[in-house]
Amino acid sequence: MDSGALYIILLMMLPILAAVISTFFPARESYMITPMFHVIGIVSAYLVMDYVPIDVRWHWVANIELGMTLDRLNVVLVALVYIISSLVHLFSFHYMKDDPGIKRYYLKLAFFTVSMLGLLMADHLVLLFVFWELVGFSSYLLIGFWFKDKEKSTSARHTFMINRVADAALLIGVILLVAVFDVSKVSDVKLPEGGNPALLTLAGLMLAIGAFGKSAQFPFYGWLNKAMAGPTPVSALIHAATMVTAGVYLLARFQPLLAPNVMMVVGLVGAATALIAGVSALFQNDIKGVLAYSTISQLGYMMLGIGVGDYKASIFHLWTHAFFKAGLFLAAGSVIHFMHKANHGVDAQDMRNMGGLRKHLPFTFVTFLVCGAALSGLPFTSGFLSKEGILLATVLWANKLSPEQAWMGYSIMGAGFFAALLTPIYVSRQILLVFFGRVRTVFQINLGKKFEPTISVIVPLMVLVGGSVWFSVSKGIFDAHGWRLHRYLFPGRLTGIPEDISYYVFFASLLLTSIGVLIGYILFRPGSKKVAMYKESNILPNSIKGFWQEGWYVDRVYGVLNQGFLWTSNFTFWVDKQVVDKVVNGLGVGAVIIAKVTGVFDKYIIDGLVNFAASFFSGLGNVLKRLQAPLVQAQVAIAMVVVIVFMFWFLF
């Protein structure tokens, strides 16, 4: 094995190694070594950056050659996964400290991380699909971590099933690409020469649908809210920073293959999802629910970026989003943990029970503020830069469209901008409801400020805050293409961007964000009418607000579809029972009759023949055994007769 293979395997297996090693120690503190292993991973990824690509290939079956590779794009994402994963491992130590299943938790978490790393490094579509499924499966394990809670295990199944639907489409795409177009290398995707263009479009569409499923896009986004049933650090790792971005990664890799129509679909779905999820986020009462819908919305942005052809902007947004969204989730985890400790009687995730927590959780508050600002796209944050990049790309794309398609381009662009307006509203709503005003419930235990400052909380939060401000990602404060890794990832020169459009977009997003923050503040400022009534507010299930709160009833649609499947299967069951079974029984009876007939035939004809043959040969044997004469001379005579016969036979 060469050193490259060793390196890749080591880089992939570090998390599980750490988890297994720490499992052997009885003390819970041993789990503190898992982040250290992750730090090794980060350093390794950093060191190897200048030595990529590293390529490992091995022969599998038939003519399929699997491979893993590290190139510029995925080494950055591997580093990202390691960074977020290390912080989540660290934070989990605080969050899961008292949970009896901590060993299981860490092993599952490591399993997930390894699967995700494998997904990023896989360099063959089939292998990528394998890891894709492993990621889905390990996320199912983590979402259903508290499987004794029926609701949570149901959520895990729900998540898993919806993912399966999309994965089926992905599988079709993979098969089409590998078998028909012979496109299998992930790191080097080229448009196949020849081939049926309609089929290629279909394959691209199938890939896109698979990506929609994993990245929680319309119409699959329903699962992400359900996935919040898992432990909150898990949500930070899986449903904010890594797994959900797999779809974005996939489409970024396979962008050269996507037909223009498919790109349009991706852009449309991305923009629609951004908008739909943004509206839904406004009406969530669950602290994680808001974050879940905001994640869906941001993933919609990334899809929009890919759809408009600027996957670089999407990758940039992926990077920044990983930091600020993980920060938000970890902060929310901190809040939930605090609420849980402080008051056992209430729902620890319901924002109606919160309020004024900034005094209790100052670090968490700062984190939430900075990361929330980044999510809203306020200036001086990383989110501002990356979101502006996507919006700019959208505007440029819409301007280039032909007149017939322009209306669609502009509506996609409009949706993107409108979602940019919605984001600061729900972020400020959440911050105001959680951290400001008065506490809307009674704390049974006064934890004071001693609760928060353990190292396993402060370090992750501070690192993520650091990753969410502008100087950590970019040299220029307002430069949407100034990402420090931009030059490394995309060595080509930037194409000229018209300065005026760049300014318009800059000011438009600035304006929209400011308006959003203002609206949010006016509506949800401490002491406003809405906040005063918030404790008792309850959204009716069948109102328009309920429609939005439940994610545009996407789950109900799933339910209806499910019901349809149920009816179909009941019907087919009935058909099976009434028709097929009878046919089968009839066939069975027929077979029995035929068997009887053949039995008789067997007994008298076949057996007769066999017996006849036996007795015939027995008689023949009796005759022939006389030839086996006892006397030597008789044998000689027989031999001579035979010799003579043969001589005559051959010579005359």
Partner: protein, 164 residues
């Protein structure tokens, strides 16, 4: 002197004792008939200029083998009368095989056509054969000698009266 007549005479000398052998039941007589036949054959070898072969025939067959056979008869017959007589059996199948073989061989020989002696020298070849034995065929010659020795020892061993 017409050698054809000689050939037919010696051929008759070979063939007639054989016919007698077929029909007789007396072993001793048949052995003597066999001896006559062998002598006739030796004469035919002389006609073929194979003098060495003729001498060997007389020495070994007529002088050695015949004596051996007579001793064999004597050693295995206890009663003076019945001992030297034997019976025939499977006469029919034997006769059929005899006729079939004869027909096959004769028809084969006749079918093959005539070969001419023309160009073949007829001279005394003993010296030539002797040289051949001690040059080209020396290994075979020695091996046969050794084989004869082994056969002698083996025969003596087999014929030896066992102790019990």
């Amino acid at each position: 002197m017409n050698l054809d007549v000689l050939f037919f005479g010696f051929a008759a000398m070979v063939a007639l004792p054989l016919i007698y052998m077929i029909f007789t039941r007396n072993i001793i007589r048949s052995v003597f008939a066999f001896t006559i036949s062998l002598l006739g054959l030796a004469a035919i070898y002389v006609l073929l200029n194979a003098d060495l072969m003729a001498v060997v025939q007389i020495l070994i067959y007529a002088g050695g083998i015949v004596v051996l056979l007579i001793f064999g008869v004597m050693l295995t017959k206890r009663t003076r009368e019945a001992g030297v007589f034997t019976d025939h059996h499977q006469v029919v199948i034997g006769g059929l095989v005899f006729i079939g073989m004869l027909v096959f061989l004769v028809s084969g020989i006749l079918k093959a056509g005539q070969a001419e002696w023309a160009g073949v020298e007829f001279e005394n070849q003993i010296a030539k054969v002797g040289v051949l034995y001690l040059t080209d065929h020396l290994v075979a010659f020695e091996l046969v000698a050794f084989l004869l020795l082994v056969a002698l020892v083996g025969a003596a061993f087999l014929a030896k009266k066992s102790d019990h």
